[in-house]
Subunit: 669 residues, 2 copies
């Protein structure tokens, strides 16, 4: 791939970026502040830059006059880099030189690339548990008039050495017609289970190339699905990425809010609702309607017919797993918090009301305990930590925060009632990581003007997890809030004002966004976020302490969750969500649940690993745990009351404080 | 049991009979003719006898005047034997002494007793595939808060050393509630399959003593069900009989016509109908409605609740098996006669629309070929022939005639398109073996008056298989018909007359029966019966010839079928249905299909035997088989064109011919 040199003026700093990158995004990544409040979709017109050198083919538009255009002015958000450039950032976007100098090095977010994710788990090959085989059968005669099924299994034995195949009786209903209509040339779909091989579908002709899986991560807030191509895949292909940043075996990805949200935001309120008359049935059906919507869209996007889907995998927390199957979750909520089951046998999709072929079974990831679900087991699988000698800390930050510590020999886990802040819950303008969500934010520490990027580069609609982390860190670094998460009352700027819930900072004005209300972050939001991050950090501490380890002993921190495209680990350290470790120890895998579900779809060998992982994971109950309460309270500070644990962050805050004094001096001057 | 001596006068013959036996039945059994045309229910009043010695406590009734009563006259059908007796048969019932003398010995029908049937198969013990276990679980605590399912399986492992139990996901739906409502004391139902053990039901309290199976023989004409007590049974109990002649483990037995009869009498017409729109669905539902009616009645009779049923077994011919499961049977009918499947996986009753507990699975007996079904495999299992060194001939005579020849090392089988004569089909007054069916008949060779017994000793409604065999044999022995099955035109008696379908014999006048029409046997009936018996005999011959054996090499002939309570093997030899072998070689087992299904319910070890039997059975196709056609034509005679094969019958016919001449001489004198 071609790379280009971009020099930003007046900062006089040079960065090397990939060909095709967006100029505003490049600036964000490299720490150059350019005001931008529309999220990157050219409507605010604030990100004007002057191109001093280099060819920018973008034309004038309503935000750039012809005169400006001729003078080399361009909107950074509309500019794609196709060669070396020298770019001047306009005065109103500039940050004090002293501040810029402080940014000694580029903070590279360790979003793991598709190829890296494919290599977290090693020693496996593509060999799906659900597979297809093509056979041509000899036509029956009076000398050879065994049953149709006998003919089929005889040929499977002869050609593929398959023996002792169980049969779904629904296959038999149509078998005689299918075989004859297909002129005795058919493709069978088989599923390998612990107890042997089962024939679940017979169809005309050779369709071995059409074998697809749908995997669903059932979150309390968000349900996310992917459609996978099982037939045309190899480990090699799984690490090749498509233009949309997925591996080539993932044909489509669709997310939606879990429609159960109407019945409560968290698992507890869902469980309460399930106890009403028809409540459980209702919740199951409503969830399935979301899943069916996702399935429909996945099929539409990938142009795959429903009957080519051979396999489904579900991974969700324990409550969602219970609700998906219509199992009463009541006792998950009541002490001593016993789920009905942690293990779910394969279930036919038709029994759940899921709209794929009648023959398709769902594999549901097993849970560990009431608050450590199949999504975490899937994440541990996908993280590869169960194969490693060194210790990994796995964190899945969704509606709850679940953490797993361990290696190939032992796994400890815990669930922190973190709250759904990072998925948008309890945050006034919080939203899931979807189109229009503010995912990256910088605040100019001089002007306090924000630079924001939204997912999909459309006008903002709200704030997702990664945006929230950025905002809080930036508010802290800019000195707008103190370490308790309260707005400082000595700063009189327009963007900080008193709102319904105390003080708030306006990130996007009504005129610039899709919601036609000022998008703000309030002190209540900040409080919620601090509680969330404190619970997660405290949980990690308790797990580490329980086996006499410290953060420094952790080789890799694998972070899963639906924050957004990625989170900036440096910013997460600033707020004390992540421990202060070298940045190269952090790996962001995005949706961990899908990561594991994908592996399981591609290789049946993981069935055993999943069982082993689930049975190895020892759950530490944090509720009513005094140690946890102490750690939680200690962490209710930005970054942490124990400042020694965050020396880098503290140093930076002190530097910024110095800069602020400088700045004030300059202003007054 | 007490036994008594009965002397019949004027024949001056003494028989020993069991205490409590009916006098008319005793006379029938011992060959003493007493006119009786109401089937044994006291309405015709023809069976008057004079009790010379002995105490008969029956009172006078409308058929016996006080004067007659005082003189010792009694109705034989209303008389129970409770002591030694001397009985005089009235003049009008008497048969010529010469004829009586001919009956040298009593023909003991080899109906096998319950205890004998229980001993046909050896080397097994009661150990049902579906079984219950009671457990008391420790109550969850915060220290022990594993899932409900985990708690249950942990205890099953601990207490019963059961491991690797699969789970039906429907169990999980109710599990948490059931365990708590039951105060953690529950009974689980488990099913052992080839692939392991599966937990299918959990219920409160200790119900291990309530474990029942319903077994269903699905005949083309008749469906018969039994309700079995699996929990309170042992091999010992299985050979103990109840007053109704069943073993004590069989709590109820119910039969009904297969409601599919409205869509055709034989399998071919059913298959044709199944090809219409909704035809298959309709046939499946209609069959299931019959089965559900039977289930309901079984539960009612035995006072068992539906949810105590844990297991179902179906055995039927290949077409019925296909229809029961809604599998298209089309190609069973078309050359080269391939069924869709011979093997059926366990199916949930609820998927078939059968009204027992949702958790119950049906085990369906495997078939061998299109015209050798699971009913025959069940019969072979029940016959024990698969365990024997010596050669057994097994015949199942229902709507078709299926025969199996073999021993523990080999099994040959064939299906003869025999027609349903023995189940009442194609016979003008034919009916299944139910209440009111004429099951035993003697015809006085002098007066040609019949002596008949019906099932249930009620007024006649029609003729079942055993009655039909008796009638034809008696008509032949009495010289009313010739060896072609045609009425002799030299006998002018009232009971033989010309009807709609040629000549006919009146067995029961309209005034004496329930149908209010003369019950007759016609020449068309005789022709149908001869075709049927010829097909069966010819089939046996072909099977024997195919491996170089003759009838004499057969150690036992096991006869299954719904003829009635039993058939008289001597009479069956007279018409040439059975070969002329010593009578002690014949064993009548009644419904063979239920016999096997019962064994399978009681002991899971038979699962393997059934598989072995089905795979061992080699089918010989008789359609388009020239040898079979030759043998069939040769057998279209009473008893057979090859008279050497039936020396005893021929001798007897000749003797009776002599008696006839004598009688005529006497009459003329």
């Amino acid at each position: 791939m071609k790379r280009h040199r971009i020099k930003f003026l007046p900062a006089d700093r040079v960065f090397v970026v990939d060909d095709g990158e967006n100029l505003l995004e490049a600036a964000m990544k490299t720490g150059i502040h350019i005001n931008a409040s529309c999220g990157g979709n050219s409507t605010c017109g604030k990100c004007k830059v002057k191109v001093i050198e280099g060819n920018v083919p973008s034309s004038a538009n309503q935000k750039i006059t012809q005169q400006e255009y001729d003078a080399g002015m361009r909107l950074a958000c509309m500019t794609t880099i196709h060669g070396d450039m020298v770019v001047e950032v306009p005065l109103e976007s500039q940050v004090d030189r002293a501040v810029l100098k402080r940014k000694r090095k580029v903070s590279t977010p360790h979003i793991i690339s598709v190829s890296d994710i494919g290599q977290l788990v090693t020693g496996w090959e593509v060999d799906p548990a659900v597979f297809k085989r093509y056979v041509e059968l000899p036509i029956p005669s009076i000398e050879d008039n065994i049953s149709d099924l006998g003919r089929l299994t005889r040929e499977l034995k002869k050609k593929y050495e398959m023996d002792d195949i169980a049969i779904d009786f629904r296959v038999l209903k149509r078998l005689s017609g299918v075989l004859r209509d297909a002129d005795w040339k058919v493709t069978v779909t088989l599923v390998q289970t612990k107890r042997g091989c089962k024939l679940i579908y017979v169809e005309a002709g050779n369709t071995v190339n059409k074998n697809y899986s749908i995997i669903i991560d059932i979150g309390t807030t968000t349900i996310c699905g992917q459609l996978l191509d099982l037939a045309n895949c190899s480990v090699l292909k799984m690490v090749a990425s498509t233009p949309n940043g997925r591996d080539v075996c993932t044909l489509a990805e669709v997310s939606d809010y879990n429609a159960q949200i109407s019945y409560g935001e968290d698992v507890i309120s869902r469980i309460m609702y399930s106890q009403r008359k028809f409540g459980l049935k209702n919740l199951q059906e409503v969830m399935m309607s979301t899943i069916n919507g996702i399935v429909e869209e996945l099929l539409e996007i990938s142009k795959i017919k429903a009957d080519s889907i051979s396999h489904c995998v579900f991974a969700g927390n324990t409550t969602m797993t219970h609700l998906a199957l219509g199992i009463d979750p009541k006792y998950i909520m009541l002490s001593p918090y016993t789920p009905t089951t942690t293990f779910i046998p394969p279930v036919r999709t038709i029994d759940l009301g899921m709209n794929v072929g009648e023959h398709v079974y769902v594999y549901v990831f097993p849970s560990v305990a009431s608050y450590i679900g199949g999504d975490i087991v899937a994440g541990v699988l996908g993280s590869g930590m169960f194969q490693k000698d060194k210790v990994t800390l796995f964190m899945d930050i969704g509606t709850n925060g679940e953490i797993v510590l361990g290696n190939k020999d032992w796994l400890m886990c815990a669930s922190c009632s973190a709250g759904p802040a990072f998925e948008g819950g309890g945050i006034k303008f919080g939203m899931m990581a979807g189109k229009g969500a503010i995912e990256q934010v910088r605040i100019n520490p001089v002007t306090y003007e924000p630079m924001i990027l939204t997912i999909g580069r459309v006008k903002p609609m709200g704030i997702c997890g990664s945006g929230l982390i950025d905002i809080v860190a930036e508010l802290l670094l800019a000195g707008l809030i103190d370490q308790n998460g309260k707005f400082k009352n000595d700063i009189a700027i327009k963007r900080v004002r008193k709102g319904e819930s105390g003080f708030e900072y306006v990130i996007s004005y009504a005129s610039e966004n899709q919601v036609h209300k000022d998008i703000v972050i309030t002190e209540v939001d900040l409080d919620n976020l601090i509680r969330t991050k404190a619970a997660i950090y405290a949980g990690c501490k308790v797990l580490l302490d329980s086996i006499g380890l410290a953060f420094k002993d952790v080789d890799k921190v694998i972070i899963a969750g639906g924050f957004g495209h990625y989170i900036d680990p440096e910013k997460a350290q600033v707020i004390g969500l992540l421990p202060e470790l070298p940045l190269n120890r952090f790996i962001f895998v995005g949706n961990g649940s899908l990561l594991g579900a994908r592996l399981l779809s591609f290789s049946k060998g993981f069935l055993r690993d999943v069982e082993r992982i689930a049975s190895m994971m020892t759950n530490i109950e944090l509720s009513n745990n005094n140690k946890f309460m102490d750690e939680f309270i200690a962490a209710m500070f930005l970054p942490h009351t124990e400042q020694r644990a965050f020396p880098g962050v503290i140093k930076r805050l002190e530097e910024d404080c110095f800069v602020k004094i400088m700045r004030n001096a300059v202003t007054q001057h």
